[in-house]
């Protein structure tokens, strides 16, 4: 995100900050190679965000003007009327109805001039009529799902930065942080340029915030309710944002990426997406976000194959809470190694995976395919201290899904 350096003052500020940081080089991590002293709202990329940008600059200039007047008066009185300057107090100057009226009315008038353009933008933002297309956005702990109603495409989108770049307290990151650190996703939302896109924002669990500043959208997804909001991207490009409402442990790790494509490229993407995620949104619930392919039907499944596939599913979906060691982070995130649920009857574990555990951070993973659930269960039953020698088949999952 490049800052818009609308005036020289910001250049000066950035330069000042840069020199401060040079002074601190000994403290500075390699990340500084990407030094970005942004001091303003990112370049707008939609009519609404352009209006927001303009409004903000306008209010900022008005505030700057008031600032100059108020601080000039304040510092004038501090310097002029200090005792060391020989100033004698004028104790009778402590009441004036006229002055009180003046400094009540002037701010009121200034506010009117702020309210008028703001009102216009509010009405524009709220006008979600006549969309060219509609996308349903669902927040999850911790990722997003996009369902394109007309195109009949639906898919999940979650953080693709590997944990090896993030690290752990007491455990340094083993990989250097990439340039899109924490702002990259596996499957971005894709929209055509210049079209009115209406978003229906909701959530599957807790409140999330779908926030992409350059498109002028920041909308809570509230479980059980659908709120609508719209944007129209002015230009082709990639626009990034993050979840804006605290939603639990990995709130900081659920970025949003919107890729805006030309109409032709968008059509191409739709075709590819259909092939990949196929079918209608409802059926797509069973589509796989992870790169674990379901083996051909009829091929006999072995424990070794299932466990190997399960390890990948585990790494993509479970590891952040239950940890690679299977020890979890009790008590919030219980251990799977030695867990009664994992070692106990298969039905119990399938039930938790399909339905989640209400009142805890354990969400439903019904969105995984039957094969993936079977694989990850087999993995948990045969890893760490667990060695049941048992494996679970996709048919077990299918049976349970139906009941």
């Amino acid at each position: 995100m490049k800052s818009i350096n609308a005036n020289g003052q910001q250049h000066a500020l950035a330069a000042l900050a840069r020199s401060v940081s040079i002074g601190l080089t000994f403290l500075v991590s390699p990340a500084t190679a990407l030094a970005a002293y942004d001091v303003n709202i990112a370049a707008p990329a939609s009519p609404i965000s352009s209006q927001i940008y303009g409004l903000h600059m306008y209010i900022l200039y008005v505030c700057a003007a008031i600032f100059v007047v108020v601080f000039a008066l304040m510092f004038y009185s501090i310097f002029k009327f200090r005792r060391s300057n020989g100033s004698k107090p004028d104790v009778n100057f402590h009441e004036s109805t006229l002055i009180e009226i003046i400094w009540t009315v002037i701010p009121f008038v200034i506010l009117l001039f702020m309210a008028i353009p703001a009102t216009k933008t509010v009405l524009d933002m709220k006008d979600t009529t006549n969309p060219d297309m509609t996308v349903k956005v669902t927040g999850y702990q911790w990722g997003w799902r996009y369902d394109y109603a007309a195109e009949e495409v639906g898919f999940y989108s979650s953080l693709s930065t590997p944990w090896s770049q993030i690290g752990q307290p007491g455990e340094k990151a083993t990989e250097e942080k990439g340039k899109d650190y924490l702002l990259e996703v596996d499957n971005p939302m894709v929209v055509p340029v210049g079209k009115r896109v209406r978003l229906l924002v909701t959530s599957n669990d807790v409140i999330h915030g779908w926030y992409v500043p350059q498109l002028g959208v920041n909308q809570y997804g509230i479980p059980g309710f659908v709120k609508d909001v719209w944007f129209k991207a002015d230009k082709v490009g990639t626009f990034k944002g993050q979840c804006s409402q605290i939603c639990g442990k990995l709130h900081g790790y659920m970025p949003i990426t919107v890729v805006v494509k030309s109409e032709a490229d968008y059509a191409k993407w739709v075709a590819e997406a259909k092939a990949r995620w196929g079918a209608a949104p409802a059926a797509a619930a069973a589509a796989t976000p992870a790169a674990v392919a379901t083996p051909e039907p009829g091929k006999p499944l072995t424990l070794v194959d299932l466990k190997a596939a399960g390890e990948k599913v585990y790494a993509a979906n479970c590891v952040t809470c239950h940890q690679a060691s299977g020890k979890g982070m009790p008590p919030t995130f219980p251990a799977l190694s030695g867990s009664k649920v994992v070692l106990g009857p298969t039905e119990g574990q399938i039930n938790i995976l399909l339905n989640g555990k209400p009142g805890t951070a354990m969400a439903s993973f019904a969105r995984l395919s039957d094969f993936e659930i079977a694989a990850v269960m087999t993995y948990t039953k045969n890893s760490w201290d667990n060695s049941t020698g048992k494996f679970v088949t996709p048919d077990d999952i299918k049976a349970k899904r139906k009941s």
Binding site: L34, L55, E95, T121, I166, P169, Y211, I246
Partner: protein, 538 residues
């Protein structure tokens, strides 16, 4: 403050029942003296200020560079949650109640608070509440991690720590309500003859209005978190759509409490400012009556602006516009206050002792916080800045140099009266300048982070936010450690400060300065002073 240890002789002065005086420990538990209780409130809030500050430094340490280094994300969320609760309910509110206890009886010429035993009880209630809140870090599931606003359904997910937090807030709320009943009753019934309402010092006025705010909104908060508790354990569905409830309703109820709460934290600070600025300008407060009306207007407006905390829930345009206009309107009475303070300095004879430095710092920084507040009142701009660091910067500009500096200015201002000793002026000035610089280093860059789109309450961030975060963290540590100067100054003042004069500040004109020696005796105004016909004391 020193009265706790050094004024046993003062018992001779009074004819109370504990003539022989209880031991120091018994006295701490049983005292009903407004000065003892005021001191206890102040010490307690000072302790909590450092507890909350330590959490803030852990947060800033984690944010020093990108990546996870210091705490797990879940613990980080608990830290931001409890930092806010501790600072609001443990540090700022009790500190102002401490000032109210110490000063209201002295400034209106009353012998004590109206309900001394309830006064004792409202202090001691805070201890179990705080223990509950802090202990929640060590229970299975950890402390509440949903942000201090406790929005469901996230807060319904947490463990027993959330229940402990809810109970703690209940108890603290009860304590605040009792304190407010006491303050209102004292002010309305126990003023000395001639101390009419429109002659009361501004500090008393602001507390009278604040106390009404507390009584109006604390029960709302109590209802709100009780519904949360029953949703969690007793199968209700107030905030669960699956059962016919609505998470948005929680936000409405919470912020109906939450916005007046903001003014609960700042109105008494306005009161302290309105006493310090005239004193060091050697002029009466400019526009006393309009200051009273402005305070009341702010209080009334505070009930109709709560929606501006939730512009992104998807409320209708009419709702957004109403809350935007109402919010902008608050700038008018707040501006009146700022202008009146400047006019108070105008044609004055200003000196710059530590309390005045903090007061001027308050004026400058609070005005900046007001500007960012105005920016945030504009709905479209708020939507792009909602839940970003811009908001964090905004409320720290109004709460740290606002509420906290007012408290510190007040401590420096009244310490000579309370202890009979002077603090160290040089150290006080160092404290001010270090705080002023490091505060701005900490929080000014957070405006930039917010504008660039960095969300709040995240333990880790994208690389483009790295530079300002690092600078902010450096500032935060400097700011935190600068506050130790304050503690040292207060302790050394009590132990070995120079003797203070009865009227340490030559033009301070409220009753504690004009009618009472320094230090103030343990019992004061057993016979109310007769102020009929005397000149106004503000």
């Amino acid at each position: 403050m020193a009265s706790v240890t050094t004024h046993d002789h003062a018992h001779d002065h009074g004819h109370d029942h504990d003539h022989h005086g209880p031991g120091p420990w018994t006295r701490i538990f049983t005292t009903t003296n407004h000065k003892d209780i005021g001191s206890m409130y102040l010490w307690f809030s000072l302790l909590m200020f450092f507890v909350g500050g330590a959490m803030a430094l852990l947060i800033r340490a984690e944010l020093f560079t990108p990546g996870l280094q210091v705490v797990q994300p879940e613990v980080f969320n608990s830290l931001t949650t409890v930092h806010a609760l501790v600072m609001i309910f443990g540090a700022v509110m009790p500190a102002f109640v401490g000032f109210a206890n110490w000063l209201i009886p002295l400034q209106i010429g009353a012998a004590d608070m109206a309900f001394p035993r309830m006064n004792n009880w409202s202090f001691w209630l805070m201890i179990p509440a705080t223990v509950l809140l802090m202990a929640s870090f060590f229970v299975p599931g950890g402390a509440a991690a949903s942000g201090w606003t406790l929005y469901p359904p996230l807060s319904t997910q947490g463990g027993i720590g959330v229940d402990m937090t809810i109970i703690a807030i209940h108890i603290l709320g009860a304590s605040s309500i009792m304190g407010s009943i006491n303050i209102i009753t004292t002010i309305l019934n126990m003023r000395a003859p001639g101390m009419t309402l429109m002659r009361m010092p501004m500090f008393v006025w602001t507390w009278l209005i604040t106390a009404y705010l507390i009584i109006a909104v604390m029960p709302v908060l109590a209802g709100c978190i009780t519904m949360l508790l029953t949703d969690r354990h007793f199968g209700t569905a107030f905030f669960n759509a699956a059962g016919g409830g609505d998470p948005t309703m929680f936000m409405h109820i919470f912020w109906f409490f939450g916005h007046p709460e903001v003014y609960i934290l700042i109105l008494p600070a306005f009161g302290i400012m309105s006493q310090i600025i005239p004193t060091f300008s050697r002029k009466p407060l400019f526009g006393y009556a309009s200051m009273v009306y402005a305070t009341a207007s702010i209080a009334i407006l505070s009930f109709i602006v709560w929606g501006h905390h939730m512009f992104t829930v998807g409320m209708p345009a009419a709702g957004q516009l109403f809350f935007m206009y109402a919010t902008m309107l608050i700038a008018v009475p707040t501006g009146v206050k700022i202008f009146n303070w400047i006019a108070t300095m105008w044609r004055g004879s200003i000196t710059f002792e530590t309390p005045m430095l903090f007061a001027i710092g308050f004026l400058c920084m609070f005005t900046l916080g007001g500007f960012s507040g105005l920016v945030l009142s504009i709905v479209p701009v708020d939507i792009t800045l909602h839940n970003t660091y811009y908001v964090v910067a905004h409320f720290h500009y109004v709460l740290f140099p606002g509420a906290i500096w007012a408290l510190m200015a007040g401590v420096y201002f009244w310490l000579p009266k309370w202890t009979g000793r002077m603090y160290n002026e040089t150290l006080g000035k160092w404290h001010f300048w270090l705080s002023a610089i490091s505060f701005n280093v900490t929080f000014f860059p957070q405006h930039f982070l917010g504008l660039a789109g960095m969300p709040r309450r995240i333990p880790d961030y994208a690389l483009q936010f790295a530079e300002w975060n690092m600078i902010s963290t450096i500032g935060a540590f400097a700011l935190g450690f600068s506050q130790l100067l304050f503690v040292y100054n207060v302790f050394s003042c009590i132990r070995s400060g120079e003797k203070a004069k009865e009227r340490q500040w030559d033009s301070a004109d409220s009753l504690e300065w004009t009618h009472l020696p320094s230090p103030v005796p343990y019992h004061t105004f057993e016979m109310p002073p007769d102020l009929r016909g005397a000149k106004a004391v503000h």
